[in-house]
């Protein structure tokens, strides 16, 4: 991949050079972060440059120091928001030059931006490339802090799928620029919401990056001027950034559009009778415990018990922030190897349970419109004359969406009306999921329904005999204590999968 990078340097005039396409550069996403900053106010800027910008353009000889960093940043944002690209370049003479050209007619195509750097040209990728030793947090070494933070920023960018994000953001910006956008307010709302949310993520990372570079500048300045107070203050700031960066790395794992949603988790027993039904109920129990540990509210929606033990299938609702983001890592077939307690001759058995995870889209998302007349509502397990003849607390209903054949059942509520309402919610989510899968393949791996999960799509093995181990086949992450995993200690598996899958995606670019 060849791309251009523009660097601002103290000692040289502006120049363009081809990014050496070495491996590390690709991996570290050192490609230019030439993003178009487009925001809702683009129409204002369409009419021309801001006066602020024009003033500074007329006055190219103003020194770098007067063109403060604040201005530098604001200016860049403002110009980029207008759909114009800017190169702010410091010439050897110390004068500042600002070059602005309209979007689409520059060398950089539809996107261009300057990579933020310190006053002496150090960038985040530059810091990582320096390979400064990362020491313990307690060591007051700014280079160590800076290197750790810079690494985190790279991880965060990778997890946010920075390059895809840029492409998407450009697409959305182009869409937002269309004059007839608001002819379809639903579509426009969707576009502008997504744009806003992506923009927010980009800005957050950019600000974090800028903050790092500013602190480095401050430390250098403090050293030049022997200001120990300023130095230790900046060092402290770096340290707190370093601590904060780990949290941000985690957050970046869950940056998908549906990740913040609550979800349904469904477990279905594979072939193998009672042993696999027992396994399915163990898996379901594992998720209930996991969700409770995370502070989610778990509600059993539907359960089909096995004849002797376990469950044939069951659905739970997991309510809470990022429930889908985490749980989606569990989609697939889970394999158990043990000596079956249901086998009188004590043989070793292998059984499977399939897990599906369905996001419950928020109100802001586009929902599938369900036509009442397309529904068939039936009483589940109905028998006998009903009505006054029967007093039962069993009032489960099954709703069939006739055009798609998608069904939903709920039997856990205390009235038929509530069972129907809950089943409708499940049905809505299933239809939304179908629609999502139809519309976009980007999330296809997480949006398979139970029936679509092939038993070959095995993601994890739980061995209780002859040795004890749980191993994820996707990441090779393993633990030797199956009990803790079955008691819901799944976060290690989930996080390793989420980071591995995002890293893989980014490498595949």
């Amino acid at each position: 991949m060849s791309s251009f990078i523009l660097k601002r340097s103290r000692n040289s005039s502006s120049f363009l050079f081809q990014n050496p396409s070495n491996k590390s550069a690709t991996l570290n996403s050192s490609q230019p972060n030439n993003l178009i900053y487009s925001s809702q106010n683009h129409t204002v800027f369409h009419s021309g440059f801001s006066t602020f910008l024009l003033n500074n353009m007329k006055n190219p000889s103003s020194s770098y120091s007067t063109l403060s960093r604040r201005m530098h940043r604001n200016l860049k944002d403002m110009i980029l928001a207008s759909g114009f690209s800017v190169l702010s370049v410091r010439s050897p003479s110390g004068s500042n030059e600002v070059v602005v050209f309209p979007r689409g007619c520059g060398l950089f195509g539809t996107w261009a931006a300057v990579e933020p750097s310190t006053s002496d040209g150090l960038t985040v990728d530059g810091i990582v490339a320096n390979n400064w030793a990362i020491l313990d947090e307690s060591e007051s070494d700014w280079k160590s802090h800076a290197a750790a933070i810079a690494q985190s920023i790279q991880v965060i960018k990778r997890r946010l799928q920075w390059k895809k994000l840029k492409v998407r953001l450009n697409l959305l910006s182009a869409e937002l620029n269309k004059p007839d956008l608001w002819d379809d307010p639903v579509h426009a709302g969707k576009i502008s919401r997504e744009h806003g949310s992506l923009m927010g993520k980009v800005k957050e990372v950019k600000a974090f990056e800028q903050e790092l570079l500013e602190h480095i500048d401050m430390i250098k300045l403090a050293r030049e001027e022997n200001d120990t107070d300023l130095e230790s203050e900046s060092l402290q700031a770096l340290l707190s950034m370093r601590r904060n960066s780990k949290e941000r790395e985690l957050e970046a794992l869950l940056s998908g559009e549906q990740d913040p949603c609550s979800c349904y988790i469904e477990v279905q027993a594979g072939a193998g009778g009672t042993e696999s039904m027992d396994w399915a109920s163990m898996v379901m129990q594992m998720y209930k415990s996991w969700a409770q540990r995370r502070g989610y509210v778990v509600t059993l929606m539907d359960e089909m018990p096995g004849e002797i033990a376990g469950i044939k299938r069951a659905t739970i609702k997991v309510d809470g922030e990022y429930a889908f983001g985490y749980a989606k890592a569990e989609v697939g077939a889970h394999r158990l190897v043990r000596i079956s307690p249901f086998d009188s001759s004590k043989r070793r058995h292998t059984s499977f349970a399939a897990v599906a995870v369905i996001p419950m889209l928020g109100d802001g998302s586009t929902r599938v419109q369900i036509n009442e007349s397309d529904l068939r509502i039936e009483r589940f397990r109905a028998g006998g004359a009903g009505g006054q003849h029967v007093n039962t607390t069993e009032s489960a209903v099954r709703i069939v969406h006739i055009p798609t054949g998608v069904t939903a059942t709920c039997q856990n509520e205390r009235s038929q009306h509530q069972n129907k309402a809950s089943a409708m919610a499940v049905l809505q989510s299933r239809l939304d999921q179908l629609e999502m899968a139809r519309q976009a393949q980007m999330n296809a791996q997480h949006t398979q329904s139970l029936t679509e999960i092939s038993w070959g799509n095995q993601i994890r093995t739980y061995v209780l005999h002859p040795y004890r181990m749980v191993k994820d086949l996707r990441t090779n992450y393993e633990v030797s204590d199956p009990d803790s995993v079955l008691e819901g200690d799944l976060d290690g598996f989930i996080l390793s999968y989420l980071s591995a899958s995002l890293d893989k995606d980014e490498d595949g670019q």
């Binding site: 004359a385 007093n391 009032s395 009306h417 509530q418």
Partner: protein, 368 residues
């Protein structure tokens, strides 16, 4: 509360006058109604979930009870289901969970029950030994779960019920949907007078009381004074005391003066043929008021009475829905309403419940 119990106090109880003479007198239940009404201080029992949490038990004692109750439930297996279509273990276990939910002050503690030897205590709305007694009655006497907890979840309502008052059925929830469809686009009906005859716990009355317009009224009638008090309690609990008027009486008897003025007549009358009563599921036959179940020889006594009454009471364009025993009664009624009521009705139709059983007959009073 607009509960007028004057009738209950001053009339002499000669039920056969408004009941068909053939109907079996519901012994214990009848007796209870009479004796309590004579004091004119009928008070509905407070359902479990509304009682103050003034009892307490340790987690481990509660767990002991729960394990015991669970074992009883499991031992039932499918024996009830096989003998009279009663509940199986899985249904009983779910009921046990709900009983626990209604008994505990703080439901979030339920997962802690699994912890062995937890010495902490937990607040309960009922004493632990009473819980033992209740569950024993559930399993051994087949006492309906709803009488244990004193409530039934019906639609999005939680209705107070107690022994002597018929427990509203899930099928009947649909009547509210049917009414909703009718009043949605008809302001006149939405703001008219509706009657729920044989209201029992007041389920239909409360259900439609919440969907009628600001001028809409419901008159809920029941012969059983205990049912009338419970219905009044439920109406009050949902803040509908100004919308729902409770009357104690038989069918249209108290509604003199409303001829040709009602916007709607709704009822889930007794419709089980007398011969079927003795074969009913234990929860129903042994515990629920037979007054609310027995519909005479072919189960049609009260339904036919209601059809005749609806013809004279409904105003032109007024709507009616009656719940029935199934296809046979539905078909008979449709034929009767179309051919024997001298053209009083139009758009008579049958609506099935979610089990696919033809359950309701609906129609409109023909406009003159």
């Amino acid at each position: 509360m607009k509960l007028s119990l004057t009738r209950a106090c001053c009339r002499s109880y000669t039920f056969p006058i408004f009941r068909k003479p053939s109907s079996v007198l519901p012994r214990a239940i009848f007796h209870q109604s009479l004796s309590s009404s004579s004091s004119s201080s009928l008070k509905p029992k407070t359902p479990l979930f509304l009682r103050p949490p003034k009892h307490s038990a340790t987690f481990s004692d509660l767990k002991k009870w729960h394990d015991w109750a669970n074992t009883l439930a499991y031992e039932v297996g499918s024996s009830f289901a096989d003998s009279d279509n009663g509940p199986d273990s899985s249904i009983l276990c779910r009921e046990l969970k709900w009983l626990l939910e209604d008994s505990l002050e703080d439901n979030s503690l339920i997962p802690h029950l699994g912890i062995e030897n937890n010495p902490n205590s937990v607040k309960l709305r009922i004493a632990l030994d009473e819980l033992y007694g209740l569950w024993k009655e559930r399993i051994e006497k087949r006492k309906p779960f709803q009488y244990l907890v004193g409530c039934e979840h019906w639609r999005d309502l939680v209705l107070c019920v107690e022994e002597g008052v018929f427990i509203p059925r899930p099928e009947t929830e649909l009547i509210v949907d049917l009414v909703n469809e009718v009043v949605r686009d008809n302001e006149q009906l939405r703001n008219g007078i509706w009657v729920d005859l044989g209201t029992g716990s007041g389920a239909i009355a409360v259900g439609i009381g919440r969907i009628l317009g600001s001028k809409g009224k419901v008159i809920a009638v029941d012969l059983n004074p205990l049912a009338a008090t419970v219905a009044a309690f439920n109406a009050h609990r949902y803040g509908l005391q100004d919308v729902i008027e409770i009357q104690q009486g038989s069918w249209f008897e108290t509604l003199k003066g409303f001829e040709g003025k009602l916007s709607g007549v709704l009822s889930n009358p007794p419709y089980i043929p007398s011969d079927d009563i003795c074969g009913l599921q234990s929860e129903v036959g042994k515990h629920e008021p037979i007054l609310a179940l027995d519909g005479g020889l072919d189960g049609m006594d009260d339904l036919l009475h209601l059809c005749n009454g609806a013809a004279s009471m409904l105003k032109p364009g007024g709507f009616f829905t009656f719940e029935t025993n199934g296809e046979k009664q539905c078909k008979f009624l449709v034929d009767y309403l179309e051919n024997d009521c001298s053209g009083s009705f139009c758009n008579v139709s049958i609506v099935s419940d979610f089990a696919g059983i033809q359950r309701f007959v609906t129609g409109f009073r023909r406009a003159l």
